[in-house]
C-alpha cells in the first residue's frame, strides 16, 4: 500500500474519532496539534486504526509512538509482511 493511501485512510479515522472534518494529518502531526487527542482518546484512536488496517500495535508502540509519521511507518511495516 502506498503512503498516500495510508494517510488518506488515516484522515478518515482521525476525523471520525475526533469529530472534526477539517483534520488533515501529516507525518509531523502530534497529539499537541489536535485538541482532543489526550491519553484517553489515544487508545480509542489506536484501536480504530488497528481495525481500519487489520493490524495490531504492540504495547511498546502504543506508548512510545511520537507522531503520525511513526504510526504510518509501523502500519507499512505490518502490511508489507
Amino acid at each position: 500500500m502506498e503512503k498516500e493511501e495510508i494517510y488518506e485512510r488515516l484522515n478518515n479515522v482521525f476525523r471520525d474519532i475526533f469529530d472534526d472534518e477539517s483534520i488533515v494529518v501529516t507525518a509531523e502531526t502530534t497529539s499537541n496539534d489536535i485538541e482532543d487527542w489526550d491519553s484517553l482518546e489515544h487508545i480509542n484512536l489506536i484501536v480504530a486504526v488497528e481495525q481500519e488496517f487489520g493490524i495490531k500495535f504492540n504495547m511498546n508502540e502504543v506508548t512510545t509512538m511520537k507522531n503520525v509519521g511513526e504510526m504510518v511507518d509501523i502500519i507499512m511495516s505490518r502490511m508489507n509482511k
Binding site: 504495547m59 511498546n60 512510545t64
Partner: protein, 506 residues
Amino acid sequence: MELTSFVFLMFCLLTILIYFIIPKKFQWFILLISSIVFLFWNNFNISTVIQALIVLIPTYILGIQIEKYSNTKKGKLFLIIGIVIILGQLAYLKYTNLFLTTAKHLLNLINIEYKFTPVYRDSLIGISYYSLIMISYLVDIYRGVCKSQKNIFKCALFMSYFPILSSGPFIRYNDINEDLYGKHEFDYTRMCNGLVRVLWGIFKVLVISERLSIFVNAVYGNLGSFNGIFIVAAAIFFTLQLYTNFSGSIDIIMGISEVIGIKLPENFSLPFFSKTITEFWRNWHITLGAWLRDYIFYPLQKSNIIQRLNKKCKEKFGKKIGKKIPLYLTMLIMWILIGVWHGGAYTYIIGSGLLQFLFIFLEDILEPLAKKINSKLHIDMNSIGYKIYQIIRTFLLFSFAMIFFRATSVSNAINIIRSIFNFDIPLFTNISLIELDIFDFIILIASLIVLFIIQLIARKGSVREKLSRKNIVFRWIILYALIFAIIIFGCYGPNYNPVAFIYKQF
C-alpha cells in the same frame, strides 16, 4: 532517615564523596551499598531482608526468562507469575486490613457478625514504589521495551536506588539504566544546580509545610473548638502542606540525584495552575499517572472485554455516548486502584480515588452544558477572569477531597465537613490551641508569596536556568538567602515534632 534530617544530608554527602573518589567502574556499586544501607536503616531484621529478596530474586530470574520467551505463552506465564508474587506480597503487607474491613462490611450487609483486630505488618521503606517499579521492569521486558539485567547486583540497585525510596518518582529501567550503571565525572555546575534544588526542597518542607502542619493538626485535632472558617482554612492549608511536603521531597531527591549525575523524571508541573481536575492530575504525581496509564489503563482499554463492551454500547447509545461508558468504567477501576495504592484505607480510596473520579466524570459530562450556559450569559470562557475562577475552583475541589485523605476515618472526614458549618462559635475562640505566633504567620504568608512568585516565574521556563544566567554575586545572594531562611525560619529542633513525610508511609 528523614529527607530533611542532618543524618540524611551527611549520608548523601558521604555517598557522593566516595562516588567521585573511587575508580569509575565501581561507582554503581557504591550506590548499591548506600541504597542497601538506606533501605534497611530503620528496619533491619530477618523478615525485612526476606521481604526485599522476595521481590528481587524472582524479578531477576523471571526478567531473564521473559526476555528469552518474549511474545510467547511461556513468556506471558512468567510475567504473570512475577506480577502475582510482587503484588501478592504488597497486598499481604499493606492491604490486609482493607480486605478485612471490606469483608466485614459485606458480611454485615447480609447480617453476619464479623469482627477482626487490625494487623500491622512491618514493611520496608519504599515498598509501594519499588514493587510497581519492578512490575514495570518485567512488563517492559515482555513488551520488548528493554533488555533484562543479567547482573543480580545491578538489578538490586535498580530496585533500591536510595533517593527514590521515600517519595518516588517512579523510574523506568529503559530511561535510567545508562545513567544508573554509567560512569560519571564530577561536574561543578551540575553540583550547584542540584544543590539549589535540594535547598529549595528543604525550604518548602521545613519552612512552609512543617509550619502549616502545626495549624492543620491543631484545628483538625480540636474540631468542635473552632469556627467553620478555620476548618475551611485547615482544609486549604492541608492541600498546601501536602504539596510543599511532597514536591519539596521530590526537589531534594532530584537535586541529590542530579549531583550524582542520574537524571530522574519530573513528578510535578505546577499543578495549582490547572483549570480542571483532569489537567490537575496531569501535573501532580506525574510518574504515578504515567505508570497507571501504561500498565493498567491502556491494556484494560485495549482488552477484548472492554472493546466488546465498547461495540455494544455504541450500537445501543450511539457513537458519542457509547464510547464513553467503557471509558468511565476503566477510569473508575483506575481511580479505585490509585486510592488503594495511596494506603490501605477507605479514606484514601474516597479522597484520592473516588472523589477525583467523580470530579473528572462531572467535568466531562457537564462541559457541553457549561458552554451553553456561559454563552447564554455572555461569559467569555477565554477571559483571564474565567480562567482564574477555574483555577480556584479546581484547587477548592481538590482541597475538599483531601479532607478525606487527611482524616483518620470516613466518619472523622464527615465530622470535619460538618464542622465547616460551626458558625455559632465566635471567630477567634480557642486560637491559642494553634501553637503559631504572629511571627509564624508572617513567615508563613511571606514564604507562600515567595512560593507563588517562583511558580509564576516557572510558568515561563526553568527558574534555575534563569538563575544560572545571572551574575555570580546575585546567584550567591540567592543561595545564602535560602540557606539562612532554612536555618532561621525552618521548623525543626526539640520543640517541634516534624511530621513524617506524608507520602513515605505508602
